[in-house]
Amino acid sequence: MTTATATKLPPSQHEFAEVIHRLEAGGAMLPDSPENLMQIIGIYKAYAVPMDFYWRDLLYIAERVFLNPFPFFKYFLPKEYLDLHNHYAGDDADLRVWQKGEASAHPELLEFMEKGKTFKMPKLFHHLWHDRVNMEFAEACMRAMLWHGRDMGWGKFDAYLDTPEYKAAADKAIKAYFKGNPVMLGMYKMFPEMFIEQVRQLSYYSNLGLFWEVMAPVFFEMSDRYDSGDIKSVPDAMNFLVNGIFAMAGRPIYHHVYIGDEMYEIIPKSCGFTWLYEAALPYVEAVFYRTAPFRGTKSYNAQVKQVPEDQKDFHYGILYADVFPVGTAGIPPTLLMQDMLHFLPNYLVDYYQQHCRGEDDMLIQLGISFQRSMYCVTSAVIQALRTALLYPLDDPNPKHLEANREFFESQLNRFKRPEARLRDIQSPDYR
């Protein structure tokens, strides 16, 4: 691996100096190798298909299911939302990111929804048999954003949820939704905050749905470009993501609710909330870094500080996850692995069969590929922030290069803790 760097600074003394020099040379935290590239692109494709379901269903729940007290069928996506046009794919796109793709639901997704991994049967049976896309994963991500929302230091979304304007808009929608339902209106009168808090959660459904609406076509396009030979290296993949982050930065984040024929703007577009500040950066912080200790397979003793006191120090996201024990129970990341398993490209299936215990631990292997791929996405976020807030990598001013290095070092400090997988992903043998 090369440590050659374009900078004129003395070598970094950081524990991850090699990675810092790579970032300074325009690379990613993930080493550049054909094997790494194949893994991350294959996983992006396998992730994009269920993501095409997640964003549609998140918006369906935020916009239509809304406060239904018995939302048994919230994962039963109506045709209207399967046909809903993605704003970044198809002929009528705002900005056509996925060049060859259609704007409505992905064909592989539709096929899976019909047959699952078993056979064609009514939706309800697929649902009860759990032979379906695991929306529980998407909801866990949404809840991580809701729970960490307050102190992430990015964007104005969470603070807005406490403003009188927000509460007034929510109040109007709640009253319209339960019009003619004295029981629920009575409940609302008794416990107004409980209802408002539910609406806040629904606003996060919308936030995450609008975020992933962008990411699905981005990942599909990356897969197509890899197949056609346009993306040839890990830095190529990362730079595609960096450009995507900028191109989408100004996409509005909002929450609209449809009750009957009327649309209620809980968070109007005119708030000026943006994809980058109010969705992408909070998402990366809440989901990649923080989330919450997973229940079920691993015990934590909070009294001996195995769980940090401050939420900002939480480190249970995919960048830290020990994929093996996580893969043994029905907890969120496992659900995602299960979802991706259905849509792996053939080259990745062949690859997993050659390693470890082959098909038997394909979920673990793809979970680790997913970890690598998310280190690439996080690298893109770090490089995008450096581009937006700091200086070009070839800046002639050494003070500027020093500022860039300080930024990279401060970012990598977050991976000094023993749980971080940055060390592991440097080696191809981690699988």
Binding site: A249, G250, R251, L385, H400
Partner: protein
């Protein structure tokens, strides 16, 4: 003297900025008595943004307005006034870090031409679009 908008239009090197200000409906504000301090990115500064960035912002006016108002500070602050400060609060609401220890830098942008006075404030020309954060 002319106002902030007229100066920018007549200079000829702020075509993107002027078009964005017009699209965002901020012309009247920037022609009002103010006063304002405007950090004005040149056309080259906008051209450095990755492709698609401006396209999406022009489709979404409130979001565009937010980025633009991050370049505006209430009051008329000359370079000498700013030299006494570490940080300014933009009309957008977020802080703008300033550094005059070695030249005149506004966040990651360098001031190319300071103190262009207008009827309703002052313009400092910068070489990069600045972003919140």
């Amino acid at each position: 003297m002319a106002d902030i908008v007229d100066i920018a239009v007549n200079a000829g090197s702020f075509k993107t900025l002027v078009a964005a200000v017009q699209a965002a409906g901020l012309v009247d504000t920037l022609k009002s008595p103010g006063p304002f301090t405007v950090f004005a990115p040149t056309d080259e500064a906008f051209a450095q943004l990755p492709p698609g960035t401006i396209h999406t912002l022009l489709q979404n006016i409130p979001q565009l307005a937010r980025i633009l108002t991050y370049h505006v500070v209430p009051g008329k602050l000359m370079a000498a006034d700013i030299a006494k400060l570490n940080s300014l609060t933009s009309v957008e609401g977020s802080a703008i870090r300033v550094d005059t220890s070695d030249g005149f830098e506004v966040k990651n942008a360098t001031v190319l031409a300071p103190d262009i006075e207008a009827d309703n404030g002052v313009i400092h020309v910068i070489n990069r679009v600045i972003l919140m954060g």
